[in-house]
């Protein structure tokens, strides 16, 4: 199942394995608004209206539950289906699209009422809500957590639970408040007929799809779901993936070979830059950045965020080891291992907030490291105007990308909104070294680190980012030498002494990987995160990467040919954690530890040897027996039983229902996109009430559904990638081969829409939203299918987003059209489902372009308030 991804075109070489599976008899289904090469190669292509995947997944969940098709033994043993939820909880069924806890004044949820029965308000976040710090009342805290993005804090591990033994379970799954029954009720309205009306998928096609998926999810067969940013770039994006998790857990498809939910990531090391994050809310290994309200000391931080049970119970060891890696000798037990050196986050400081801070003038300096936000980030104009308000900008890239040159040739210069003479931003362009010119590791989409070796020296002034950041730090430390200011201690005490070599004094990437891997007190490389201690004896830059340099060997550089090892290929590169290739693989065996079937054997209990064994590294304590039941009061991983495969969760179970950790509800629910041509047919609540909107003049929103003025933007719009270009184009639009293969920006429309809008194949079209108007060549193709939804036909427009004004192939950027309404959990923008108008011909130039967009805004009656109300006026839910 490929959904929210065009795998054949965006991950072509990975797709070879899908084709290999198909050749061996696997069924391939593609759900996507467009028919692409993925759909063309599939057994079934299901077009749907962009932005309605939760309605479809909810329909599948309902189909499974109505027909008793869940994998009962797996569901009872390995998920929280049996867990009973507290009496206070109210579902969207009761509140017309809202959950209990909604607070109009906070525009967010208090999550207390979502908890398991029997656990005191359970999440780590919940501890704060109980008022362990007296600064705010419980409700204020919960909202604040949403505003800070701290819903994300449990991203890798789920919330902590106190008193596992108090959790009430009904393993018959009949209790009216058990998760299983709650799901049944929540999804009861996601009928095949409703799926047809919301998504535009005919009932017979839906039923065919549902049968294909459920027939293939058994002891003997597993179904995998692959997705990409077609799922994440929505105001309800996290819940898209959650919906797939619910379905896959019900079908027993998680932790088993051939199953899973596979995130197909689009950059060479985007997984690595999440694990070892260049992200505001995380420290390496998914440790949360501290917050001043609850994290005054290391003890408070650990008490607040670690779980008593599950592997996350070792958070103190992971944190202390990180602080030792950062501050070495200076970090001691007496000074809390320099915990106070960490800056605190107090809100959402994500990249789109940074843009707003630039527009406001509070953020004055900006580094761009191989990113091109003037093309690649939503609302490109806001990006450029933000940069025009900086004191200084450093761009590190291969070519003079649009984010480096907007001050002299950007769209605002053309329109007269900016003139170089009035832009005060000082711009440094520093050429970057290519991967062939530096050592280092990428982490691919399977969590696998692979080392690339420097082949040649970089040309001219080009340098690696390792070089840039190391030498920038060295210079800063030299300039601050002798400072007695308290604020400078973290810099001066920092361990920053990597060995260098060569004419440019290139720092050693292997030395950095060794620091990431971690070392024992005697300096030897650690081999497993289980060796980490919380007494300062170990140092480790990223606990989940511990073992990447085991035995003093660069494990990421291993390249044993696939022909010389088993099909799991454990000796090629190194996968975190502990070189496991399939997470939670204890679930590939039944509760007794036997493979669910011979065909799907992966990891199993070997009674003779008294340990887990199999084709992969078992993701479980190796000698914990399947029949092991923990004594009361056991802690950390020892609190989990022999049938708790989800070892990072506090209860060891896969969460069908999320009692804490999400900002917008414990169960995935369909809401319409920020901008939609149709009303929400499932609930009175139109949008995700907890979504973030920017409320800025540079980022106006359009009316939705049946609101007056929505007809001005009648078509659904979705953005996407092409095989021959790479994201914002910095690595493709300057290459003759790739530019020749995809030479021009275009938009894809159906013949029906072309007729309706007067568009000609290969002619020009102008696509308009409330933000901007762009032009594109018209590609009329029956691969774009109008969908019948609700009481109307919805036409869809597809636009690739790679183009900008520089390079060998140039064109308008799709991100001129997009807006800054965000998912509330992870603050990702909604660029996969918008609405727009399309008209024939090229766009107007200069000031006329602005006038055209203004005219659209006027006709649609757009004001600063349009589209920003969290709760839909007609919805009574908020009064609960």
């Amino acid at each position: 199942m490929v959904q929210g991804s065009n795998m054949a075109e965006c991950h072509p070489v990975g797709f070879q394995w899908v084709m290999a599976a198909k050749a061996r008899g696997a069924t391939l289904i593609h759900v996507d608004p467009r028919l692409t090469r993925t759909g063309a190669l599939a057994d079934l292509h299901v077009p749907l209206r962009a932005g309605t995947d939760i309605a479809l997944l909810g329909g599948l969940i309902n189909y499974v539950l109505c027909n008793g098709l869940e994998f009962r033994e797996y569901v009872v043993a390995y998920t929280n289906a049996a867990t009973i939820i507290g009496e206070q909880f109210r579902d969207t069924e009761d509140l017309d699209g809202l959950f209990s806890g909604w607070q109009d004044d906070k525009a967010g949820y208090a999550t207390d009422s979502w908890q398991y029965e029997g656990t005191s308000v359970a999440s780590s976040a919940g501890k704060r809500e109980r008022g362990t710090r007296a600064r705010h009342d419980g409700q204020g805290r919960s909202h604040e957590r949403q505003a800070t993005g701290r819903g994300h804090e449990h991203g890798s591990h789920g919330a902590a639970l106190s008193d596992l033994s108090n959790i009430r379970r009904d393993e018959t799954l009949r209790h009216p408040r058990c998760v299983f029954q709650l799901l049944k009720r929540h999804y009861s309205r996601y009928t095949p007929e409703m799926v047809a009306r919301v998504c535009g998928i005919p009932v017979d096609v839906f039923l065919q799809l549902a049968r294909m998926v459920t027939d293939n999810s058994t002891r003997d067969r597993t179904t995998a779901w692959a997705y990409a940013v077609g799922w994440t770039q929505h105001t309800v994006g996290v819940q898209y993936i959650r919906a797939a998790s619910v379905l896959q857990l019900l079908l027993g498809n998680i932790g088993r070979p051939g199953g899973g939910i596979l995130a197909l990531r689009g950059h060479a090391s985007i997984q690595g830059s999440t694990d070892i994050p260049t992200l505001y809310d995380l420290l390496p290994g998914y440790l949360p950045m501290p917050h001043p309200d609850a994290h005054g000391s290391l003890d408070e931080y650990v008490a607040d965020d670690s779980a008593d049970t599950g592997y996350w119970g070792n958070m103190r060891a992971y944190t202390v080891s990180l602080l030792k890696a950062y501050w070495g000798e200076a970090a001691t037990a007496d000074n809390d291992y320099c915990f106070d050196y960490l800056p605190r986050i107090t809100g959402d400081h994500s990249t789109y907030q940074t843009v707003k801070a630039q527009l406001d003038g509070s953020c004055k300096g900006y580094f761009l490291n191989g990113e091109n936000p003037a093309v690649g980030s939503a609302n490109a104009k806001a990006q450029r105007l933000g940069m025009a308000n900086l004191d200084w900008l450093v761009v590190r890239d291969f070519a003079l990308i649009e984010s480096a040159t907007w001050w002299r040739d950007g769209p605002e210069v053309e329109s007269g909104e900016l003139r170089p003479e009035t832009v005060g931003t000082e711009v440094f362009f520093l050429p970057a070294a290519a991967h062939t010119e530096k050592d280092g590791s990428f982490t691919n989409t399977q969590r696998m680190l692979q080392w690339h070796h420097a082949a040649v020296d970089p040309p001219g002034d080009a340098r690696s980012d390792l070089w840039f950041w190391f030498h920038l730090g060295r210079r800063i430390r030299a300039k601050l030498a002798g400072s007695t200011a308290e604020r400078d201690r973290p810099i001066l005490d920092l361990t920053w002494d990597y060995p260098t070599s060569g004419e440019h004094a290139e720092p050693s990437a292997e030395a950095v990987l060794r620091e990431i891997n971690g070392r024992a007190a005697d300096g030897t490389c650690l081999s497993s995160y289980q060796q980490l201690t919380d007494d300062g004896a170990t140092a480790c830059g990223c606990w989940i990467y511990c073992g990447a340099y085991a035995d003093g060997v660069n494990q990421a550089a291993r390249r044993k040919p696939h022909t010389e090892q088993n099909w799991v290929a454990p000796e090629w590169g190194w996968a975190w954690p502990a070189n496991r290739r399939l997470l939670y693989n204890r679930a590939s065996a039944d509760p007794e530890g036997r493979p669910w079937s011979e065909r799907k054997a992966y990891v199993w209990w070997d009674e003779g040897k008294g340990r887990w064994t199999g084709h992969d590294v078992p993701d479980f304590q190796p000698t914990k027996r399947p029949d092991h039941r923990p004594p009361p009061g056991a802690r950390r991983e020892d609190a989990l039983s022999g049938i708790d495969p989800f070892i990072m969760q506090a209860d060891g179970k896969g969460w069908l229902y999320v009692p804490a950790g999400l900002s917008d509800g414990p169960v995935p629910t369909h809401y319409e996109p920020q901008e939609s041509p149709v009303p929400n047919l499932l609930y009175g609540q139109q949008h995700n009430p907890a979504r973030q909107t920017s409320r800025r003049t540079v980022d106006p929103y359009q009316p939705s559904g049946d609101e007056p003025g929505s007809g001005v933007f009648p078509y659904a719009l979705t953005t996407y990638r092409l095989t021959e270009h790479h994201t914002a184009g910095g690595m493709s639009r300057w290459l003759p081969y790739l530019s020749e293969l995809q030479p021009e920006m275009f938009c894809e429309v159906s013949p029906e829409l072309a007729r309706e809008a007067g568009l000609e194949h290969l002619g020009w079209a102008t696509v308009v939203t409330a933000r901007e108007a762009i032009e594109a060549r018209v590609l009329v193709t029956d691969r774009m299918v109008p969908v019948r939804v609700h009481d109307r036909i919805v036409h869809q427009v597809g636009v690739p987003y790679h183009w900008g004004g520089n390079g060998l192939t140039t064109g308008d950027s799709a991100n001129e059209l997009t807006h800054l309404s965000l998912d509330p959990n992870v603050h990702i923008q909604e660029t996969k489902a918008l609405s727009c108008d399309v008209r024939p011909g090229r766009r107007p130039r200069g000031a006329d372009r602005i006038a055209l967009v203004e005219e659209y805004r006027r006709r649609a009656g757009i004001t600063a308030e349009t589209g920003t109300a969290p709760r839909t006026a007609a919805s009574p839910g908020g009064t609960a």
């Binding site: 070489v13 070879q16 689009g266 090391s269 690595g272 830059s273 070892i276 994050p277 260049t278 420290l283 390496p284 309200d293 050196y341 800056p343 907030q353 509070s362 953020c363 900006y366 490291n369 191989g370 590190r396 890239d397 070519a399 003079l400 170089p420 003479e421 832009v423 931003t425 362009f429 520093l430 050429p431 290519a434 062939t436 530096k438 280092g440 691919n444 080392w451 690339h452 040649v456 001219g460 002034d461 980012d465 390792l466 950041w469 920038l472 300039k479 604020r487 973290p490 810099i491 990437a509 990987l513 044993k560 090892q565 290929a569 090629w572 095989t723 690595m731 300057w734 992870v826 990702i828």
Partner: protein, 198 residues
């Protein structure tokens, strides 16, 4: 100059001989597109992969599939990049982007010199790398000083600067991301982000 070196290598002759089944032509080359079509130039050609001084193991820098690459180097220049057949991920295959990687790294359109645009400037200027590094270090420290916050407006200890930000990392190495986060955190900068949020 003997006959053999003059006329016989002519492709048309060789083809005619092959079609006629005469000796001296490429055996079994009835279509004339095999041996008959060879010239001395073709005979002297050697694949760049066989004449390279060394082969360096690498990974495709575009998407997260992580296809294996082999980088062929001659005279300290990249002369070819191919898929690595040993990789269990890709078994030697590359997609159009991966296959264009040599052009990415040897592209004459790559900018290899520092460019500098002063405030209100209308054009780029030259600047040497060392000076640029020093100026950037000064900018970071000045902005940090001007925007340093020990306590926020609610009196909470935050010890940070919101004065500068960084975006990028998904195209970089783990080791590079590690240094960016480490230095940024020590400087008190929290707005450190990358494509993973986008």
């Amino acid at each position: 100059m003997g006959l053999r070196e003059t006329f016989l290598p002519w492709p048309v002759l060789r083809q005619a001989r092959a079609v006629a089944g005469l000796p001296g032509a490429g055996r079994g080359d009835r279509s004339g597109r095999g041996d008959s079509a060879r010239s001395r130039v073709t005979d002297r050609l050697q694949p760049r992969t066989s004449t390279a001084d060394r082969v360096v193991a690498s990974v495709c820098p575009y998407c997260a599939v992580g296809c294996g690459q082999l980088v062929y180097v001659k005279d300290e220049r990249v002369v070819q990049i191919e898929g690595d057949p040993a990789s269990p991920v890709s078994r030697g295959r590359l997609c159009p982007k991966g296959a264009a990687t040599k052009q990415l790294v040897t592209n004459p359109r790559r900018q290899t010199r520092v460019r500098y645009r002063r405030p209100y400037g209308t054009d780029w200027e030259d600047l040497d790398l060392d000076t640029a590094m020093d100026m950037i270090a000064d900018r970071v420290l000045a902005t940090r000083d001007a925007t340093w916050t020990d306590e926020d407006s609610q009196g909470r200890r935050v010890r940070r600067t919101m004065g500068f930000a960084a975006l990028g990392g998904a195209t970089l190495d783990n080791e590079e991301n590690y240094l960016i986060k480490k230095l940024g955190t020590a400087l008190g900068a929290v707005q450190i982000e990358n494509q993973a949020r986008i």
